[in-house]
């Protein structure tokens, strides 16, 4: 009797691995067969549950949407500030020119010759010259409304003024930081030396400090804008991540239950992603609308302070406005998706 039991136990031990593999294979096959896979149907259900979650968790959805909207507005403000500061700096740089004064006797032909010489420098963007007569005409035009001045300008006076007024050359450059080559040219060229006015010195030395200041402001605006945008983006993502994480933390039990009744990862994660994406779409719309009306209200006020807002106003008044809305919505969706995916994954690994 005991021998038979031992024999049976041995048989059982020998047969076990082989038969159990069979069990496993047949069982798993049946298990897989029972699964009906309809991607479209699943996708529809995920969207449906995401949308219902969005409305049923109204307060949390609102909080996440609000934080996202603020993030997007900050991003817009940072980008706009960077663009308008750069544009303003460019505009101011464009106004800067070097003025060189020549003796009143300098003729138009000489001025043309001098223009040719200065244009040979690669930093020269444009050159405008005027001889003594033209300077006088300019003076007349500038004082056209002043009868007191016009009335005293008889022929004798006119001749006297023309004989005293210096001819001028105004040079605009590509790079205001490097004026040495032009300076050298003016100081060493024989023709320039011959006609340069003895009383009035060229103005590039006087403007150098202003040029440097504006240049450094433009640089600060560009670099600062980029740094600010990155810092705000990181802070905002962290805030949104925490908000969504809190929302999901309050529903961790739900995730656990879903797993226990056999929901797969996609089905559990999907509705949370859809919910966060809906927050992103809504936040994108709110932020784009607020930014649009906010900037359009602010633009004329900024313009009064000499800030160049033309480029941004141009974009907002063109067809590009739709693209701006789409970018806002797109960023909202990306922020929502990334944050919720990170937040859900923590609870998906449990159970």
């Amino acid at each position: 009797m005991a021998e038979t039991k031992v024999k049976k136990a041995k048989e059982l031990k020998d047969e076990e691995p082989k038969n159990l593999k069979k069990v496993a294979k047949s069982g798993l096959k049946t298990m897989r067969k029972t699964r009906k896979h309809h991607p479209l149907r699943e996708e529809g259900r995920i969207i449906k549950y995401g949308a219902s979650g969005f409305t049923r968790n109204f307060w949390l959805s609102s909080a996440a949407t609000a934080v996202m909207s603020i993030t997007l507005i900050i991003l817009f403000a940072t980008v706009v500030a960077s663009v308008i500061l750069t544009n303003t700096a460019e505009m101011m740089r464009d106004k800067i020119d070097i003025t060189i004064y020549f003796k009143p006797v300098t003729s138009r032909e000489t001025l043309d010759e001098l223009t040719e010489i200065i244009s040979s420098d690669s930093n020269t963007k444009s050159v405008v010259t005027s001889d003594s007569k033209e300077e006088y005409e300019k003076f007349l035009a500038e004082n056209a409304g002043s009868d007191e001045i016009i009335n005293v300008l008889d022929d004798e006076m006119k001749e006297l003024m023309i004989s005293k007024m210096q001819a001028t050359m105004r040079i605009k450059v590509y790079n205001v930081d490097n004026l040495d080559s032009i300076k050298d040219l003016v100081e060493t060229n024989e023709v320039f030396q011959k006609y340069l006015d003895d009383e009035k010195q060229p103005t590039y030395d006087v403007n150098q400090a202003e040029i440097a200041t504006i240049t450094s402001w433009a640089r600060i605006a560009r670099t600062g804008g980029i740094i600010l945008a990155v810092v705000f983006l990181v802070i905002s993502i962290l805030i949104i991540f925490s908000t969504i994480r809190m929302a999901i933390f309050s529903r961790r039990e739900e995730i656990y239950m879903m797993k226990l009744v056999g929901a797969d990862r996609r089905f559990i994660r999907g509705p949370f992603l859809v919910e966060a994406e809906l927050c992103g779409v809504l936040a994108g719309l709110i932020a784009a609308t607020t930014s649009y009306f906010g900037f359009m209200w602010l633009a004329p006020r900024l313009s009064n302070y000499g800030i160049n807002v033309d480029e941004i106003v141009g974009i907002l008044q063109s067809n590009k406005l739709i693209i701006m809305f789409l970018i806002f919505i797109g960023i909202g969706i990306i922020i929502g998706r990334v944050s919720s995916r990170l937040a859900v994954s923590k609870y998906l690994h449990k159970a």
């Binding site: 496993a24 069982g27 009744v261 056999g262 797969d264």
Partner: protein, 257 residues
């Protein structure tokens, strides 16, 4: 239908095993009570069956599936084949009674038409047809447990396991829940219920498996609870190992026609 062979589990940091070489065989269509005090190892055994926990050694075969071969990606599919009822109901709080039951069918990929046909029938079975639109918080404990049962049987599983399903309920509701489980068992579903309520065990006169300190100390076919030294460890029947598919062949009747 449920087969555990020398299953041992020691939780990290514990010296005593939560399950100590446990062997158990439950035939198709059986109704089994798993009884024992808190800490006896009942819940760990249930977690082994749902693959929430993995044994340190031993073999577990459920409905013809060897759990060693059920990889992480297969777990949702495996769990969909089981009906599971929990002590704390584990209903989705933001979904209605109807949606909670429908959820179990949706994750199985059932069509909307089939779901709309099945859910009312299941709710009728648990006598909750008039509560379909309510949320779990609006229901009593007994009603919530009936929703949990409805969700677990909606997919018509061959095996239903219930972990302390009556622990949070009063005496009358407990009786109702047990009768409902018996009704489901009458349709051919194998049922394993853990409890420490001796009263319901003895009145139903079904098979009772008693656990103590991570071991099975008694196994009686017709109710009642054995004492530790009177009961030998159950042996693993050889015929089950040799004909592994038989559990699948013995199909139970459909709960919902």
């Amino acid at each position: 239908m449920i087969l555990l062979d020398s299953v041992t589990k020691i939780y990290p940091g514990d010296h005593k095993p939560a399950l100590d070489s446990v062997s158990l065989h439950i035939e198709p269509n059986e109704f089994v009570f798993l009884v024992g005090k808190s800490g006896a190892g009942k819940s760990t055994l249930m977690k082994m069956i749902t693959k929430e926990e993995i044994p340190d050694s031993g073999k577990i075969i459920i409905g013809g599936i060897d759990l060693d071969y059920v990889k992480k990606r297969h777990i949702p599919g495996y769990r969909r084949r089981l009906g599971v009822v929990f002590q704390d109901f584990k209903l989705l709080p933001r979904r209605t009674v109807y949606e909670n039951v429908a959820f179990a069918l949706e994750i199985a990929g059932m069509s909307g038409k089939e779901i709309r046909k099945t859910v009312p029938k299941v709710l009728e079975l648990v006598d909750l047809s008039d509560q379909a639109k309510k949320f779990p918080r609006q229901l009593s404990g007994g009603q919530q447990q009936r929703v949990s049962i409805a969700r677990s049987v909606a997919r018509q599983p061959k095996i239903l396991i219930a972990d302390e399903p009556t622990a949070n309920l009063d005496k009358l509701t407990t009786e109702e829940i047990i009768q409902l489980l018996k009704k489901i068992n009458d349709f051919g579903t194998t049922i394993l219920v853990t409890t420490h309520n001796e009263g319901i065990v003895n009145t139903l006169q079904k098979r009772v498996v008693t656990m103590k300190d991570g071991k099975i100390v008694a196994d009686q076919k017709n109710g009642g609870i054995y004492k530790l030294d009177e009961t030998p460890q159950p042996k693993l029947p050889k015929h089950l190992i040799q004909t592994p598919g038989h559990a699948l062949k013995n199909k139970p009747k459909r709960i919902i026609q």
